[in-house]
Amino acid sequence: MDDFLDDGIMGAGFTLEQILTDAVTSPYLDDSYYDLLRQDMAEWEAMGQPLSEAERASHEALILQENWLLDRRAYEKWLHLYSARCLYWIPAADGLPAPEVADPQHQVTIAFDDRRRLGDRIVWLRTGVASAQIPVSHTAHLSSGFVRVPTVREGEVKIRSSFLCHEIRAGHPVQVLSGWMGHVLVEEEGSWKIGRKLVCLLDAGRAHHNLTFLV
């Protein structure tokens, strides 16, 4: 297991022990939350504006920090970037999926993790006995093309970006994932958190070899 200090140079984080008891129920993913996701999908279509210096310093920096923590496998710190009612969503349909093929209320996804399932995923990765992660995956995320997309939702910021993610596991070829991401940022306890993260893979509809790492 990776060692880290609570407020080390990589920033604040949880301990694995804290995650074990964090969010062991799943009360907030209800009809209104799915409504919100349908609204998100419509809003992501819009033309975005390049970020201002201030937006880069807070929003782009947060997403780049997320990439860095994932690439460092610092999952306990990574979870700390997420809000209490968060979602990490990878549709199983290509592109900017149309609601009829990717409405998660009616369709299965590659990943649809509320706060509880994110905790499950981190604990699962840390068991050290997952054959799919022996040896472990290492990733290199590259994000660019950050734009702010308008939203009608007050207090929320929508940032769209393009990404490449290389993944390597000893004994296996390099996997390359690409596509775009949407981050919905919300303010919580005085700082920006990731409220919803959408990962649209270019090849979401195709077969994948081992997606047990975090994108």
């Binding site: 074990l20 062991v24 129920t25 799943s26 009360p27 907030y28 993913l29 209800d30 009809d31 939350y33 799915y34 199983a92 349909a93 093929v101 990717a102 998660p104 209320q105 009616h106 369709q107 299965v108 996804t109 590659i110 990943a111 649809f112 993790d113 509320d114 509880r116 399932r117 905790g119 499950d120 995923r121 604990v123 699962w124 068991t127 006995v129 997952a130 054959s131 799919a132 992660q133 022996i134 509809g205 195709r206 077969a207 994948h208 070899h209 081992n210 997606l211 047990t212």
Partner: protein, 434 residues
């Protein structure tokens, strides 16, 4: 590379009582014969009717390595067509699914009805009296459907589907009839998982009640650490043969794990799923009379029913094995919804979430182990794979339906598979398109 002199007579020495030869997983000549003599050589699952509900709907699939189209014609009848133009051989359909009255080959525009007949060719004056349009329809697969499950074969001498797989289909009835009057619906997206291993490693595993406590240690430890005992799959820990699960020979290569006796209450033993508390409360508030029964059908059936050679009915999902090469297989998990007039629609929102659980936390570990099997089996000096567990312990008995049944860790299902495998591979039956 191979130890046998010729297929099929040389196969006998590769399948023995309690052990099979590694080359069955690694030899490309064997793989190629499987692709004709098993896939399409016997009744082979192709599609579910809910994927093509309307007249003129189609889906493109594989029957072994053959590209095939499953269609519904204008009158609603099902057809299985070989996706190969009778002119120069190009595929006539290049979409994964859709709606089409006709399939027109883009190369020279020969055009076929969705029932297969050749309808038109451009510049017809270029063909003389020998040109017999009636003989130039798309190759047709023999297809039959049972309660929405569409199977196909090119073996014209097989008995009808319901005779051939009657036992397995009677078990499928139990899987289907958990909510009276309900129908399962696909078109709910899929998990598509690549395995760099031979396809049979997946079939071997689908009725392997010996592996879960070990291969799924990550899932079981995570669940225990987060939720304590009592949730999903706890029955796979410890001496599973002292438990209530069984395996059975469902005949003609089909196999069955029955976990149902371990499940006191489906909903209480469900894996965690996003939205669980929100929708449980909503279902109980809106539909008090059916709520508890409805919550139970969110959860997987407690049955693994494997229909030779490629359909694995597990939990609430249909897994389809798509072999691509001797050491490369796609495993497609089709999510299912359950629809009935008196079934709360919220059930399906939860079912989608639950069907993401095992592809996230369970199957990847199995696939990693299958790939490592493939790596190990490539070693030429080590010949055998052991499939003899409970073969001679006296633990097997005549169980329900008169089926040979054993404790859950019994490798009876593998022996059942290999018996059917050998029979099909040595068969002289002719494979022929209609």
């Amino acid at each position: 590379m191979t130890r046998y002199q010729s297929i099929p007579t040389g196969l006998d020495g590769l399948v023995e009582e309690g052990r099979v030869h590694r080359s069955l997983y690694t030899d490309r000549a064997i793989f190629e014969r499987e692709m004709t003599h098993l896939f399409g050589g016997t009744w082979t699952y192709l599609a579910h009717e809910s994927e093509l509900p309307e007249p003129d709907d189609f889906v493109q699939r594989r029957l072994g390595l053959r590209r095939v189209i499953v269609t519904r014609d204008g009158e609603g009848r099902l057809h299985g067509l070989l996706n190969r133009c009778t002119h120069r051989g190009a595929t006539v359909c290049r979409q994964a699914e859709g709606k089409a009255k006709r399939f027109t080959c883009p190369y020279h525009n020969w055009s076929f009805a969705n029932s297969g007949e050749l309808r038109s060719v451009p510049l017809p004056r270029g063909y003389g009296p020998s040109f017999d349009r009636a003989k130039l329809g798309l190759g047709k697969i023999r297809v039959e459907s049972y309660r929405g499950f569409v199977f196909g074969t090119l073996n014209q001498s097989l008995p009808p589907l319901q005779d051939h797989y009657g036992t397995a289909l009677s078990i499928l009835d139990e899987w289907l009839d958990r909510w009276p009057g309900a129908e399962i619906k696909l078109r709910r997206r899929t998990h598509r998982l690549i395995c760099n291993g031979n396809w049979k490693l997946i079939y071997d595993n689908a009725a392997d009640g010996y592996h879960p406590g070990f291969s799924h240690a990550s899932l079981l430890r995570m669940r225990k650490a987060r939720y304590g005992g009592g949730v999903d799959m706890q029955w796979t820990l410890g001496d599973v043969d002292a438990g209530l699960q069984t395996v059975a020979d469902a005949r003609n290569g089909c196999t069955f794990i029955d976990q149902r006796a371990e499940i006191a209450r489906y909903w209480d033993q469900a894996a965690p799923m996003p939205g669980e508390e929100a929708y449980a409360a909503q279902i109980r508030a809106r539909y008090p009379e059916v709520a508890e029964r409805a919550l139970d059908v969110v959860v997987g059936s407690g049955m693994n029913l494997n229909i030779f050679p490629n359909l694995l009915v597990i939990g609430n999902q249909l897994q389809v094995i798509e072999p691509l090469d001797v050491d490369r297989t796609d495993l497609i998990w089709y999510a299912t919804a359950l629809e009935a007039p008196n079934l709360p629609p919220e059930v399906n929102t939860l079912r989608m979430r639950l069907q993401e659980d095992f592809p996230s936390f369970g199957e990847p570990d199995d696939l990693a182990n299958f790939e490592e099997c493939q790596a190990g089996l490539s070693i030429p000096e080590m010949d055998w794979v052991h499939v003899g567990r409970h073969m001679d312990t006296g633990a097997e008995y005549d169980g329900p339906r008169g089926l040979t049944t054993g404790p859950v860790s019994d490798e009876l299902p593998m022996r059942v598979f290999w018996t059917e495998w050998l029979k099909r591979m040595q068969s002289d039956d002719e494979m022929r398109a209609l």
